[in-house]
Symmetry: C2
Subunit: 341 residues, 2 copies
């Protein structure tokens, strides 16, 4: 075993869009597991939009990322040393190891992985993003066959799961994605009925017209993960009794605004009343007691290929920041992971 491991820390808080100098790659001593702990060599780590929010120093649902500490992230890997009876060398596990080559954590914080599935699926389709989609739709979607659902980042791990679950429930499913290639993938790989390329439209009104063409009966469920121009296009064509599940707003994570972001609250309030909308904030951790139910429901479909997933694999821990910046701009296709070893 080597004497050192690598990690990436947050060197300073980003001003707006993050840059290289906000991060620092470090060599540190390899930890030795204490009683009840397990040492893991990562094969893959996850990159997710929520990480941008944690880099700001604001009160939110999670504590902010601490400066000079390992950037937080989920990861998967193989046990290389164990001081807990429940885990043996060679076990494949998931844990919150951070942006790092290795992780040493209490056994209680680890989850053993199904050996019949690629470990990286525990970061996307069968991990937090897939569960976000599943738990949000189940708790708040009130989906009815024949209705219309819209979701952006349609080829991402949340959007692609939202779309597939809604199709299964009999809804018309319209995605939004950046570029013709992703739109093609949304339809051909993930079975969306249609997908609108947001890069082809320069404001909310054009977006609304493009969405309306694909949602002739209006929108009943909008799974919100982007905000911005897509939200601006969706709001006017929401149907009476429509549901908006507010799960994320990647377009606004680095502090930018736009016409939609600046829309007066008074206008939204009127829409909410007149159309009797339900607007519901979603955080998957509120539903985490249902994670086992989710795996039972979805894992068989992933194994059989009935549920599709796409991963975008960056190579090497040192490239994590670059891959993260690219993801924030929609440069990834599918679930963004970093291959560590």
């Amino acid at each position: 075993m080597t004497d050192t491991m690598q990690r990436i820390v947050l060197a300073r808080r980003p001003q707006g869009f993050p840059v290289d100098a906000d991060f620092r790659l470090e060599d540190i001593d390899m930890p030795t597991p204490a009683e009840g702990e397990v040492l893991v060599r990562l094969s893959h780590m996850s990159l997710d939009p929520y990480m941008r929010g944690r880099m700001d120093y604001v009160k939110s649902y999670t504590a902010p990322q601490e400066l000079d500490q390992t950037m937080g992230a989920g990861g998967v890997g193989e046990v290389i040393a164990s001081k807990d009876a429940g885990f043996a060398v060679g076990d494949k596990v998931f844990g919150m190891f951070g942006w790092a080559s290795h992780g040493c954590v209490p056994a209680s914080q680890l989850r053993k992985l199904d050996p019949d599935l690629p470990p990286s699926t525990a970061l996307g389709v069968l991990g937090m993003p897939g569960f976000t989609a599943w738990s949000g739709l189940d708790a708040y979607g009130k989906m009815k066959a024949g209705e219309t659902l819209v979701v952006a980042a349609a080829t991402g791990p949340v959007g692609s799961m939202v779309g597939q679950l809604a199709k299964k429930a009999g809804l018309r499913v319209v995605g939004v994605a950046g570029g013709a290639e992703k739109c093609k993938m949304a339809v051909e790989t993930f079975g969306f009925d249609a997908c609108v390329d947001h890069r082809a439209y320069k404001n909310s009104i054009e977006m609304m017209e493009a969405l309306h063409a694909e949602c002739p009966d209006g929108i009943d469920v909008y799974f919100e993960n982007v905000g911005g121009q897509v939200l601006g296009g969706v709001l006017p064509i929401m149907n009476t009794y429509g549901r908006i599940i507010v799960c994320g707003m990647i377009a606004w994570y680095s502090g930018e605004s736009d016409d939609t972001g600046k829309m007066p609250l008074q206008k939204l309030w009127r829409m909410a009343l007149v159309k009797r909308l339900t607007i519901q904030g979603l955080l998957q951790t509120d539903h985490v007691d249902r994670f086992g139910e989710f795996l039972k429901d979805v894992a068989p479909g992933v194994k059989s290929g009935e549920i599709a997933y796409v991963e975008d694999v960056a190579e090497g821990l040192e490239n994590a920041p670059k891959a993260f910046f690219s993801m924030l701009k929609g440069g990834n296709t599918g679930k963004q992971v970093v291959k560590i070893s």
Copy 2:
């Protein structure tokens, strides 16, 4: 029987706050009931904030008020001629007779009143406003004992019912009202735990501080009927998992805005996500199949005096516009009705 009846029509659409010249009092021929119709002499008619919205020509949940036609309104009165076997002269009934001395409508549109209760209660505590409170809280409030609820227009027919139902459910109930007298009434007559006088505060931040003093544990349920500065004070102190039931926004009905109305959507979206708020539009007509259940639940308490109600009675149809203007400015105390005969 006289040959004519009186009515008030909308003469023109108000520009901002309505004025006398927007209305016209007319004498018209007394209608004669056709087969299946009933002629009613009104004792009281209702004035409600929603009427302001209908005066604008905008697509909403109801058709706009037509020009030169009788202003719409609920009313109660006595049957004076009947061509329907179900109604006899002398019966007390509720119907949508409008701003008028008499009404002639199909029997199917009438509801017979409980002879043991004053007919005017069918316009307020046991009518649309009371039902709005009851149905909204029941469907969307998810009230739990020990939580805190806030409602404005606390002595109005919706607010006072919201407060009394929430108290019964074991919540801490904080009202907002205009002036010391109404605040006293909210506490002493309607049993609110506290009531904040919005006239004493000149912006949302002051309002927030005043509300926070009375809601030390934050706000779990906000029953929204005013918008404006009260909403601006409520939003920052909403608790995680808070529910906002959007039932009305009287502060904004005549087109005014303010800092809260102009708050950027992006800010609300972030609050909705971080606090996992539920924002729900409410229209009582969606729940109207439960009206019988409401009466069964609430009428005994009104009869026994356990449920309090206060009416503000204007005298004479000709004074309806003046009373309406006053109500929009909060000049009424309790449910605003007009005594017609």
